[in-house]
């Protein structure tokens, strides 16, 4: 493999919710244009860690973070960073599809509108079409762009959320268990889409499905009780785990 470029570098990250510590000294280098999967049992801190990257934890009362997180060598917790600007660079897709109760078009156009990305109506139309095409949804919805987004099926809604995220033109996509609310067919479509998106975006994904991690990720991080137990190429982690906890988890003994 050629020289990997690091997109996100986390150094000694600790996260506290009030008096509870959720993450202990996590350090990880997330490579550019690859899919990195976070796996581990429930409550192990993988979602918390994911939400550190676009500072979604800021909104949670009593949440404190120490350590450094650098994206493209810029500290995202520096006081100079504007959170709104940061989130424009980092798209996020959530566990449950959460389209706005607006039309399909307005769902995708919302981000570009608030960030002022399109000067003309035609630019916005192009951006919406491009994003929906990239999310593999255009052919299914092009005739009903004014229909309400929540009227789509679960899998379509999730792809709409992906289109909404990439319409802002981010370079990182965070996905928090994007397929856990979907049936196997919709899951397969989303997985294929994620694999396809890898060329343009750095993707970090939390998943409960080890098969999913094995199928689409290049790197895997295993978390246990707030600690990063193991991080490496997906092949290594699944076929030759260095830590016995990782082995126990992937072989189904714990979790």
């Amino acid at each position: 493999m050629t020289q990997e470029l690091t997109k996100i570098r986390a150094e000694n990250v600790n996260v506290f919710y009030g008096a509870n510590q959720a993450l202990y000294d996590v350090s990880v280098d997330i490579p550019k244009n690859q899919v990195t999967a976070f796996i581990g049992p429930s409550g192990c801190g993988k979602s918390t860690f994911l939400r550190c990257f676009n500072r979604m934890n800021d909104a949670i009362e009593g949440c404190q973070i120490s350590g450094n997180i650098m994206i493209d060598n810029d500290d995202i917790y520096s006081s100079k960073v504007d959170v709104v600007e940061l989130r424009a660079r980092i798209g996020m897709v959530f566990q449950k599809p959460n389209p706005f109760p607006k039309s399909i078009y307005d769902n995708v156009a919302y981000g570009p509108r608030i960030h002022g990305l399109a000067d003309k109506k035609s630019d916005l139309d192009d951006l919406v079409e491009k994003s929906l095409r990239r999310a593999g949804l255009w052919e299914e919805v092009k005739d009903r762009l004014t229909a309400i987004g929540s009227g789509l099926s679960g899998g379509q809604q999730q792809r709409l959320c992906i289109a909404r995220a990439i319409a802002v033109n981010p370079d990182i996509l965070l996905m928090d268990e994007p397929c856990s609310a979907l049936d196997p067919i919709a899951t397969a479509i989303i997985e294929e889409l994620i694999d396809d998106l890898r060329t343009g975006y750095t993707i970090v994904m939390v998943t409960h499905s080890m098969q999913q991690a094995a199928r689409i990720s290049q790197k895997t991080a295993y978390f246990h009780m707030g600690q990063l137990v193991e991080f490496g190429t997906t092949d290594d982690v699944f076929t030759n785990p260095a830590d016995e906890k990782t082995e126990a988890y992937i072989s189904g003994k714990i979790g």
Binding site: R87, F94, Y110
Partner: protein, 428 residues
């Protein structure tokens, strides 16, 4: 052995089961009984109000031929000439001509007393409306006074001995003659809706109070809605959770439970005595009611904001919306149905309020319809209370009619609330 135990348990269980079923049935009956008694009480209340109010919706008139005796130079009477006419004597003369046998001064006075004081206005209006040539006779329907009206409607029984009723035998005999000649008629009492307040029951109307209520509600809405929504947004979405905001929350909840007359005292002390807001005006009434309403709006708005799913906020934050954009673009529109419902319920509550308005001078005899928020005005509940206090019997029906109008007003507001909720309701 085990078979025996099993059978015994089964018998026990079945016996218990029957008791459980019957207790469930009984509970169900209690609930139905409660609903029925609530419906019965409501029905009784409504039907008694409607029955009492019915006479107020009609009024009795007598048709008389009126003639102006002042000869004019012109072909038609000019408006200036009509303005100079003593209409009271025109009306009186028509009655004297009808009953030439009445000559004593006392009797003449009671004869004219059969007509409402509004009869002179009715006569003048009839002449203004039709171009009358000198010497023409105009047939006009003149309203009867409240007591005679009650006799016509049968509420005062004319078969009772004279000393047990308010109307004399002589007056009733005159009325009978007019009735026999087919001159007495009943018509829809438009006066109830187009007149302001009056000391004469047959001339008293609710227009002034209704318009006063509308102005007052307008002030209440304009003051309490923005303050209520802004305060709720701050407390629910933006404020840090600390002892200070906790204290504000507790105080707002308490404010909603403060007896309404206290708000009236506050209004008197602050708005009238300190800020010199005009007394008896919809402005001061609306401000006092706004104090009462905005805790309700804050509580309703906070509940509506809290019911917006967090996933929508996360989605908006995730694409880079600022906290204020999350609120104005997503949370507030979704919370709107709840906010509107709470607001209208708060306003309906305020519209039915009497006690605080007592303290700021809105419980007053005001004949004119208010034309702006600083004019003297009264409101429907105050009007109802004042009419209920009047001694004339005819005010009884008027009071019930005003209650009915207030109920329709509140029903209308609640209907708007339901309509808005349905209209803005969105699914997610």
């Amino acid at each position: 052995m085990t078979d025996l135990t099993a059978t015994r348990y089964q018998t026990k269980r079945r016996a218990h089961l029957a008791a459980r079923h019957s207790s469930e049935k009984r509970f169900r009956l209690y609930c139905i009984g409660a609903v029925l008694s609530a419906v019965a009480i409501l029905g009784l209340l409504l039907s008694s109000i409607v029955m009492t109010s019915l006479p107020a919706f009609t009024e009795s008139t007598v048709r008389l031929e009126l003639q102006l005796n002042a000869p004019a130079q012109d072909r038609f009477y000019s408006d200036a000439e009509l303005a100079d006419v003593n209409w009271r004597s025109v009306v009186s003369r028509a009655l004297y001509d009808y009953f030439p046998e009445v000559t004593a001064r006392q009797d003449k006075r009671s004869l004219v007393g059969m007509l409402s004081l509004g009869a002179t206005d009715a006569a003048r209006d009839a002449f203004y409306k039709s171009k009358v040539q000198p010497g023409d006779v105009v047939s006009v329907e003149l309203p009867l006074s409240d007591d005679i009206d009650l006799v016509v409607k049968g509420i005062i029984d004319r078969t009772l001995p004279e000393n047990e009723r308010i109307v004399s035998d002589q007056t009733i005999s005159w009325l009978s003659i007019l009735e026999a000649d087919g001159r007495v008629e009943r018509r829809f009492a438009l006066a109830l809706f187009v007149n302001g307040d009056s000391r004469e029951p047959e001339m008293a109307g609710i227009k002034g109070a209704l318009i006063g209520t509308l102005w007052t509600m307008l002030v209440t809405l304009a003051v309490s809605l923005p303050i209520g929504i802004m305060a709720a947004i701050y407390l629910q979405e933006l404020a840090p959770k600390n002892r200070f905001t906790d204290m504000i929350e507790v105080n707002i909840s308490n404010l909603a439970a403060v007896p309404s007359i206290v708000f009236g005292l506050l209004g008197l002390a602050v708005f009238i005595n300190f800020l010199d807001v005009p007394r008896s005006s919809p402005l001061v009434g609306g401000l006092v009611l706004a104090l009462m309403t905005f805790p309700t709006i804050i509580i309703a708005t906070r509940a509506a904001l809290a019911s917006v799913p967090p996933s929508i906020r996360e989605a908006a934050l995730g694409v880079g919306a600022s906290p204020i954009q999350v609120i104005t673009h997503h949370v507030l529109p979704l919370a709107m149905p709840g906010i509107l419902t709470g607001t209208i319920i708060g306003l309906a509550q305020a519209a039915g309020e009497t006690a605080p308005l007592l303290m700021v001078g809105m419980m007053a005899f005001i004949v004119d319809t208010p034309t702006d928020i600083t004019a003297n005005a009264t409101v429907l509940p105050a009007q109802i209370y004042m009419w209920a206090n009047n001694p004339e019997r005819a005010f009884l029906a008027r009071t019930s009619a005003a209650i009915l109008v207030l109920l329709v007003f509140l029903l209308f507001m609640n209907a708007i609330a339901i309509y808005l909720r349905k209209k803005f309701e969105r699914r997610w």
